[in-house]
Subunit: 200 residues, 2 copies
DNA sequence: CCACATCTGTAGCGAACGTTACATTTATGG
DNA sequence: CCATAAATGTAACGTTCGCTACAGATGTGG
């Protein structure tokens, strides 16, 4: 049977553009007109490919997390919990002030509170932030088994803490904090892990 | 000369209601219809009293910070930098999970990214967050003079750090973190200040 | 008691929103 | 080369948005 006319735009390239619009303006602040213009397509193409605005957001979030997966692996592969924290927070400071991206983190900027009818959006963002926290917690559980973190260290609390700090850095970055300021926050935050490391 | 018909609603009580709507739905997610209904007034009364939606937000923010001023004084009056940090973060954990309020912090929930035409809103929120950071920095400068913080401690960095952590806690609270989880984050965060305190 | 000033409720304004109908174009399968 | 299937561009749909004109109500100053 016939296959139909092939799509003329690159879905991934279009998603990169959509990602940036959501990142800069938030889910509700981003309009379909802005999105289609940035993506270089017309509304029917958007709706055919992604369903609706929320579907487009989910696709953009998938691409966002996929792009960060490699970096996250590198973070988690650091030798000690302290180094994991340092790589995580320093990398966060840098990426949230990268002039190639909008400031802050898409998973925070996307929208913490939304209007009636978009309640799923904050949920969706929170779920993806939780994934990172889960990875960190598991890594810290391992660090305890490795004898790298004190036996009394609370892996879940430390993961939550890192999650909170990086979210907070996102808030500050979005309101104009520069790279140096975020690195200061990262440096201060890491000290907690030095205190929680096993004596050697 | 004549004074005109007096206003029938209590502006402060109405602002409390508006505050809650902005808090829960964000600036863009809050509609005039929701606001007027919560405030118990009709649109013309809102516009006569506050100018427009953004003016209403500013008035609500003023009331928000005014309500927190007393608490902030109590935080800053703690005897040591460490205690300031503890009161600040524990109080934040509690207020951000207070069932009487929407979760999180209005100054974060209000809107980090907004659509074209509302660019002032994130700015306005950031300015008010910065005020708290300024107060903390000054308090830590004093703590250094008091010999309470190490001479090598960086007051600005510590203030930024506290600001980041409390913003991050707001993000987590808005996505459902409970009081216990936030208190864990607070407890971990405070350890930094113990390390930065002068030996005694 | 009258003239004036301001608030209130109704009702609706123009604009922008997310979304889609429709005709056209461009490919594939037979 | 024709029939089918899917994507495209134009144009517009209905709804909701922030906001306001207007008329009536309610107070104060003279």
């Amino acid at each position: 049977m016939a296959m139909g006319r092939p799509r003329e735009f690159d879905a991934d390239a279009a998603l990169d553009q959509a990602m940036e619009v959501f990142w800069r303006h938030g889910y509700e602040g981003a309009t379909i007109a802005q999105l289609t213009e940035a993506m270089g397509i017309n509304p029917p193409s958007l709706y055919a490919a992604f369903g609706n605005k929320e579907g487009l957001l989910k696709a953009a979030l998938d691409r966002y997390t996929a792009k960060r997966a490699a970096w996250m692996e590198e973070v988690l592969s650091a030798p000690t919990a302290r180094d994991v924290a340092e790589r995580m927070l320093m990398g966060t400071a840098d990426s949230q002030t990268d002039p190639d991206n909008p400031p802050g983190c898409l998973l925070v900027q996307g929208g913490l509170a939304c209007g009636t009818g978009s309640e799923n959006v904050p949920f969706e963002l929170a779920a993806r932030r939780a994934l990172t926290e889960d990875q960190l917690r598991e890594r810290f559980v391992r660090a305890k088994k490795d004898g790298d973190l004190k036996p009394t260290a609370d892996a879940a609390a430390l993961a939550r803490y890192l999650s909170a700090v990086s979210a907070g850095m996102g808030v500050m970055a979005s309101s104009g904090a520069d790279r140096e300021a975020l690195r200061q926050v990262a440096n201060v935050s890491v000290k907690v892990f030095e205190e929680q490391s096993a004596k050697r």
